[in-house]
Amino acid sequence: MSITTSNRLTKWVSYGVLSLGGIFTLFPFLWMLSTSLKEDQYLLQFPPQWIPNPLNFQNYRDIWELIPLAQGFANSAFISITGTIGVLFASSLAGFAFAKLRFPFRDKLFVVLLATLMIPGAILLVPQFILYRDLDWIGTYNPLIIPSLFGAVYETFFFRQFFRGIPDDLIDSAKIDGASWFTIYLRIIVPLSRPVFATLAVLAFMWRWNDYMGPLIYLQDNNMQTVPVMISTFQSQYITQYGLLMAASVVSILPILVVYIFMQRYFVEGIAMTGLKG
């Protein structure tokens, strides 16, 4: 077999593998969309109607009446955005100090903090709930936001990695000009680090937007709930109304899909980063 035939074969096999994987991945989403656009009577048909006929948008109208979705989006957005801004600010400041400022026990402290990433979340579930209960935070957004405002080790690690690559000369010359450390952070470090901020922002936002156990445990009033918990509550009430359930699921993932489509690069980089330590 000549090199070119072998190359062509590799190419077609690759396309075959990628297409099979693509169909496997995409098919459930298409099924979700198709179900959401069907009238109930067509759901229980064999063979199934792949393309809904007639197209029925009633489910998309009804879910807004049945679920306080608009409120849910506002709640989710509030928690995710404040948490993301908080965690990025605190973590980047800490990452800056760990990368560029000199203080006693700096590197030892950093190693200790890194080791805490190995603490399994299962250990913290019960005592954190008790802590928030003692603080009278249950039923408020505090448990979902305030810990983020102190920063997170994970984000700090990636900020530190990135900031170490910024030349010291830039910082030294700013110091000679009399700039304070916070000014250096704001005017030199942040503008030079936009990609790492964007990458960590989409990750931090996605985790908070999709979180399920946190809001489930700490929030009580359904009108204060995030979109995922509202969908879950709705499912337990309308467990066999698949048209409505699929419409609600489609609407619930749309915002993050839009962010994903427009900021795909940052998602891909961010998710690749989570595996970097391997």
């Binding site: 099924w31 402290l109 250990i123 579930l125 102190f150 445990i217 995922p228 699921s249 391997g278």
Partner: protein, 322 residues
């Protein structure tokens, strides 16, 4: 005198700088540095360290959150390990669910190798593979519950077109775990593929070319050149997947509860009970805080030991190209 830890960190600083150490500017720098890291340290102490220490104490008590906590010594641990069969069922289920890990790794490795060929349309495929990664696990669980519907769901409808009668999936103690495994493979494919792709891009093409010239076939090139470069990633995915399997919660909560507020999930016949789900049931449905904390510590120790074991085993077969 310069603090030795400081000079060793700054490494390449000129000697002149060392002599002027601890002047006003250096003190100021150290104070501001500590100020900048203070929130992170305080947050760790308040939200993790203190709760962690407290949970040791809680695990030695019986406590329903309302009344007085009663000291019971090691009773919770003894009960969990020797008397409560659900703890062992949950561990067994988790081990069963791990069957999906090597299957998912092989599939995502195959996809990554295909993605690594120089062909067009890669970004299109990548966009698709990532959809499950960015979508919320809640929406995906609601979707898969419908896909696994025994009568009208996607999978059994497809099986029926081939004349096959599909199983009850989530309704059957035998098929509920395979159902979760299928969903898990589907959900993790894009993420693992991306990690493998990053590793593949680190394989030096000279090595493969040299091997081709020496007459190595495609399989030999994969087995002896490409695969060693993929072992660190394989190892990483293995550890994180095992730890993740113990902690499956949302899928169980959304896919295994029957209609009605009294259904607690994990069924049928506890066939989908995972350890974190059982922890959650004890803590937030039965209000057995002490028992839940003890389960948390048992699980935490198991996960920690697994990680250490994996690192130890990993040293023998993982190839690091440093």
């Amino acid at each position: 005198m310069a603090n030795p830890t400081l000079t060793s960190q700054t490494g390449g600083q000129p000697t002149k700088y060392k002599r002027t150490a601890w002047n006003g500017m250096r003190v100021r720098e150290a104070l501001i540095g500590m100020l900048f890291v203070a929130p992170l340290v305080i947050g760790f102490v308040v939200f993790q360290l203190i709760p962690m220490i407290q949970s040791v104490g809680i695990s030695f008590t019986n406590w329903d959150l309302i009344g007085q906590a009663k000291w019971v010594g090691f009773e919770n641990y003894i009960k969990a390990l020797t008397k409560d069969r659900l703890v062992w069922i949950a561990f067994g289920n988790t081990v069963y669910l791990m069957v999906g890990i090597p299957i998912g790794m092989a599939l995502s490795m195959g996809l990554a190798i295909a993605m690594n060929q120089k062909i067009r349309g890669i970004s299109f495929f990548r966009t698709i593979y990532f959809l499950p990664v960015v979508s919320s696990v809640v929406a995906m669980s609601v979707l898969w519950r419908w896909i696994f519907n025994p009568e009208y769901g996607l999978i059994n409808a497809l099986l029926k077109t081939f004349g096959l009668d599909g199983p009850l999936w989530l309704g059957s103690p035998e098929w509920s775990k395979p159902a979760l495994i299928i969903m898990g493979i589907w959900g993790g494919l894009g993420f693992n593929m991306l990690l493998y792709l990053a590793a593949l891009q680190g394989v030096p093409s000279e090595l493969k070319e040299a091997a081709t010239i020496d007459g190595a076939g495609a399989w030999q090139r994969f087995r002896y050149i490409t695969f060693p470069f993929l072992t660190p990633t394989t190892f990483f995915i293995l550890i994180t997947s095992i730890i993740g399997t113990f902690q499956v919660f949302a899928q169980i909560h959304l896919m295994t509860r029957a209609e009605g507020p009294t259904s607690i999930g994990g069924g049928p016949q506890w066939s989908t009970l995972t350890t974190v789900y059982y922890l959650w049931l004890n803590a937030f449905q039965y209000y057995k805080m002490g028992y839940a904390a003890a389960i948390g510590w048992i699980l935490g120790i198991v996960m920690f030991a697994l990680t250490l074991l994996q690192f130890w085993v990993g040293r023998r077969w993982v190839f690091y190209n440093d």
